[in-house]
Subunit: 567 residues, 2 copies
Amino acid sequence: MALRARALYDFNSENPGEVSVRENEILTLFSEQDIDGWFEGVNSKGERGLFPASYVEILRNDATSTYNNNSCNTSGEAYPDSPDNFSKPNPPAFSTFAVPVQPQQQHGYNQQSQGSDDDWDDDWDDNSTVADEPGTVGRYRNYEGNGSSTYSLSTTSNRGNAQGKSSATVSRNLNRFSTFVKSGGEAFVLGEASGFVKDGDKICVVMGHYGPEWQENPYPFSCAIDDPTKQTKFKGMKSYISYKLTPTHTQTQVNRRYKHFDWLYARLVEKFPVISVPHIPEKQATGRFEEDFISKRQKGLMWWMNHMTSHPVLARCDVFQHFLTCNSTDEKAWKQGKRKAEKDEMVGANFFLTISTPATPLDFQEVESKIDGFKTFTKRMDDSTLQLNATVNEFARKQISGFKKEYQRVGLSFKILSQAFEMDQQPYSSKLNQAISFTGDAYESIGEYFAEQPNKDLDPIMDLLALYQGHLANYPDIIHVQKGALTKVKESQKHVEEGKMDHSQAEGINERCNIISCATLAEIQHFHHIRVRDFKAQMQHHLQQQIAFFQKITSKLEEALLKYDNA
Amino acid sequence: MALRARALYDFNSENPGEVSVRENEILTLFSEQDIDGWFEGVNSKGERGLFPASYVEILRNDATSTYNNNSCNTSGEAYPDSPDNFSKPNPPAFSTFAVPVQPQQQHGYNQQSQGSDDDWDDDWDDNSTVADEPGTVGRYRNYEGNGSSTYSLSTTSNRGNAQGKSSATVSRNLNRFSTFVKSGGEAFVLGEASGFVKDGDKICVVMGHYGPEWQENPYPFSCAIDDPTKQTKFKGMKSYISYKLTPTHTQTQVNRRYKHFDWLYARLVEKFPVISVPHIPEKQATGRFEEDFISKRQKGLMWWMNHMTSHPVLARCDVFQHFLTCNSTDEKAWKQGKRKAEKDEMVGANFFLTISTPATPLDFQEVESKIDGFKTFTKRMDDSTLQLNATVNEFARKQISGFKKEYQRVGLSFKILSQAFEMDQQPYSSKLNQAISFTGDAYESIGEYFAEQPNKDLDPIMDLLALYQGHLANYPDIIHVQKGALTKVKESQKHVEEGKMDHSQAEGINERCNIISCATLAEIQHFHHIRVRDFKAQMQHHLQQQIAFFQKITSKLEEALLKYDNA
C-alpha cells in the first residue's frame, strides 16, 4: 500500500520541481524519508514533485502523525487556523527552511507572493544546530535585526517605502534590552560569567586620540565577492546562487551561499553583544534568480564584507575566518568549524571576559555623557538618513520616469519638426533638417542617460544608507547594555553606602562596567571612523558620477551643435 | 443743470484714474466732449474718474443719445443683452479703444479681468482713420490674424494653452477666402484693378535658383528696439509704454508705442494680399506695466522687427519707412505720413499692379504642384510647431517646478545630514560635514539653475514658434488667393473653348494669374529662406545655452567635489 499524507496547509509551488498542494489534499509519498525538509510525491491531480515535509501529516493505519518529531510543538496546537498567519513554526530541524514565508518578510515586499526562498533551503551537513534551538538570542536577533531596517530602504522595487522603521527599532530595543541584559550584560557585570580565555581570543581596547579604540588589526585584509552563479541540486529541481569569495590574506577562493552568510551573521550577533554587526542584505521570497536582484544582493554582500573586514574585532574572529578560509569542498572541515562555532562558549556574557582594557579606568560620568551624546547623534543620523533615503529614492524614481520622459518628449518634438521640415522641397534646408533630427536623437539619448544614472550614483547612496540604517538599528541595544552596566554601578554604590554590599564586590562591578564601557566606546569610535570614511567616499563617488553624467550630456549637445555648422 | 448719462454696461476700472460703473447707473459728466474716447465724471457713489464714452448714453431732455454718432449701429439693436458677449461694436472713432475687451482676447487669458489695454488708448492726432471704417478688410484681418494664433503660444502666464488653434485657422481661412478674393485677388485677375504705379512703388519678382524670388533689398538695414519706458498723460492718470527704435540706415532714434505698431500692422495687412505680414505680439488687458510683460513684448517686437526688415518688400514700403523714420516730435509730419498711408490706393487688388515678373511666364501646373506641396508643408509645420510648443512649454514648466524641487530636496537632505553629522563630537569629521553641507548648497543652486534656464533657451524657442505660428496662420489666405486666380484661369480656358470668351481676355487672366503666382511663390521662397535662417540660429542658440547650463552645473559639482579633498 502506498504511503499517503494529508496536506495541513496550502502550498503554492514557486520553483521548478515543486508541486502545489491544497489544505486537506491527500498526497502519495514516494518515501517516508524527507530530502532536506522536502517530500517527493504526487498530489491529487497526479502532479509529481516536491512539497515541504512540514506541511503534511503522514497517514498511518488511520492514525496521523505530522512530520515534526523533535519539536516541542505538537500538531493542532501550534499550527494556527488562518492561512494568513505566518507565525507557523519553522520545521524543527531546518533553521533556514524555505516555506512558509517567514514573519520578517511581511514588511518589505509583496505579500501575495508566498514563494520559497531557496537561500533558506537546507543543505547543511547535519540537521541540527545548537543555535537554532528555540529561545536562542542570536537567532532572535538575527530575525529581528535583519528583517526590519534594511530591506525597505534599498530594494529597487520598493522605492519610497522606508516608513515606520524608527518605531520598530524602539520596540526591538525594549525587547532586546531585557533579553540581552538577562542573557549577557547583566550576568557579566554581576560577575556571573566564567570561562577559559585562550590567548588567541584576547581582544584589546587601547586608548587612542579620541578615547578607547579597538586595537587595530595588524594583518588587515579585504575580501572580494564575485561571480554569483546559479547552482542546482535535486537533479536540477532546486536552485541556489553561489558567490565566489577571495580574501586577500589567503588568495584562495571559496564558494558561499546566502544561507552561509545568514548562518555566520547569526553566530556573530550571538557572540558580540556590544559590537554592531553589519546586517546582511534582506531575504527575498521571489525573483531571487533575476539579474537585478542577484546584482543587488552581491553589492549588498560586498558592502557587508567591507564592514566585516574593516572591523578590528569581527575581521579576526574564528567563525568569520572559518567562513572565509574553509575549503568549500572539504565537507568535514566545514562541519568541524561549524560545530565549533556553534559550541563557542565565549559568546554573550563570556565575550566580555576576552576584553582587555587600558590601564587607567574610564571616568563613568564622562562615559555617560559620551554615550548620551552618541545616542542623540544616532537618533539624528537615523532621521536624516531616512529622509535622505526617501529623497534620493524619489529623485531616482523621477529621473527614471519624469526626467527621462521630459527630455524624450522634447527629442520627439524636434524629430517631428525635422520630419515636417523634410517636406519643404528645399534642397538647401536638408542639412538643417538632419541637424534638428540629430538634436532630437540627442535629447532622446539624454533622457536615457537620466534613466540610467540613478543606478550609478543614487543606488550606491541608498546601499550605503541601508547598511548604516542597520548599524543605527543595532546601537540602541548596545547603548542599553552599557547603560544597564552603569545602572548596576550606581546601584552597587548605593548598596555599599547602605552597608548592603562590601567594597570589593562593588569594585568588581566597577571594573566590569569599565570593560563594557571601553568596548562600547571603542565600538562607537569605530563607527565614527568608518562612517566618515564611507560617507566621504560615497559623496565623492556620487559627485564624480554626477560630473561625468553632466559632461556626457554636454558632449552629446556639443555633438548636436556641430551638426548645424554647415547647415 | 449738470450733464447726466446712463451706463449701458458694467465697466470695471483697472487702472488709476478710472472709475467703475454699473449698468443703468446714472453718472454726472464734466463735459459732453470726450477725451480720446473717455468721459470724465462722477458715478453714483461720488467717485470721480474716467470711463469709456461708448459705455454710456447722455441723458438730454428726457431723450437719450448714445455716444455713437457715426456708427451704423444703433443703441438697443446692436448691443447684445449678455455681458459675456464681447461682440459689442468698437467705438466708432477709435480703432484701438481700450474697452470693452476685444473678441480675440477671449481665448488667451483671464476673462474675468475686463480691463483696459492702455496701448489701445487713442491719442492720435485725429479721431478718424480711413482704415477704421467698418468692413475694411485690413482691419478685419488685423483682428482675426493677430488675436488667434500668437497669444496662447508665448504668454508666460498661459503655458500649455495652445489647443484648438488649427481649427480656428481653417475657419478664418474660409472667411478670408471669400472676403479676400472679393475685395482684391479676384478683382485683379478679372482685370478690374486700376491705378497709377509710380516708379518707387515697383516691386520686382526675379527668377532665382529655386524659382521666383523677391528682388533683394539693395539697402538692407535692421532696427533696434530698446528702453521700453513708461510714459503718462492726463496728469499721470493714464500710462503707456514707449519704445526707442533705432534703424541702422538712419541711425536716428524714434519713439513708438504699441498702438503705432498696431496701426502699421493694419496698413501692411491691408496693402499686401500675398505677403505674410508678421503678427505683432498679442494685446494684453492687464499687467501691461509688469516687467515680465514689458520685456516679453519688447522681445516680441524685436522678432517682429527682424522679420519686417528681412522682408525685401515690407522693409522698403513707404508706410514702414514712415514709421521707422518720422521724427516722433514732429506731429505734423507724422500726421501727413499717416494720412498718406491710410489713403494709399495701391492696396489689395491694386498692389498686384505694382509687381513686375520675370520674362518667362510660369508653368501653372508646376505652380499648382508647388503650392500644393507648400500647403501640405504648412499643415505639417503647423502641427509640429504646435506640438513642439506644447512640449517645450511643459518642459519649461517642469524645470521651473519639478526639476528645481527635486534638486533642492536632495540639497536639503544633504544639508540635514551634515547637520546631524555635526552632532558627532568628532573633530576629524568637521571637514566632511562642511563638504556635505556645501554639496547641499550646490544642489540648491542647481535647482535654481534649472528654474532660471527656460528663460534662456526655451522661451526664445516659444517666441520663435509664436512668430511662425503667425506666418502659418497667414498662409491659407495667401494660398487661397493664388488658388482662386488659378481657378479663374481654368474657367477662362473653358469659356474660350465654349466660345464664351475671346482669347485676348483669357490671355489677360493668364498674365495676371502669373503675377499672383510669381508673388506667391516669391513669398513662399522668402518664407523658407527666413525659416531655415531662424530655426538654425535658434537651435544653435538653444544648444549653446544648454551646453553652458550643463557646464555651469558641472562646475558647481566640481567645486563641491573639491571640498572633500582634505575632509
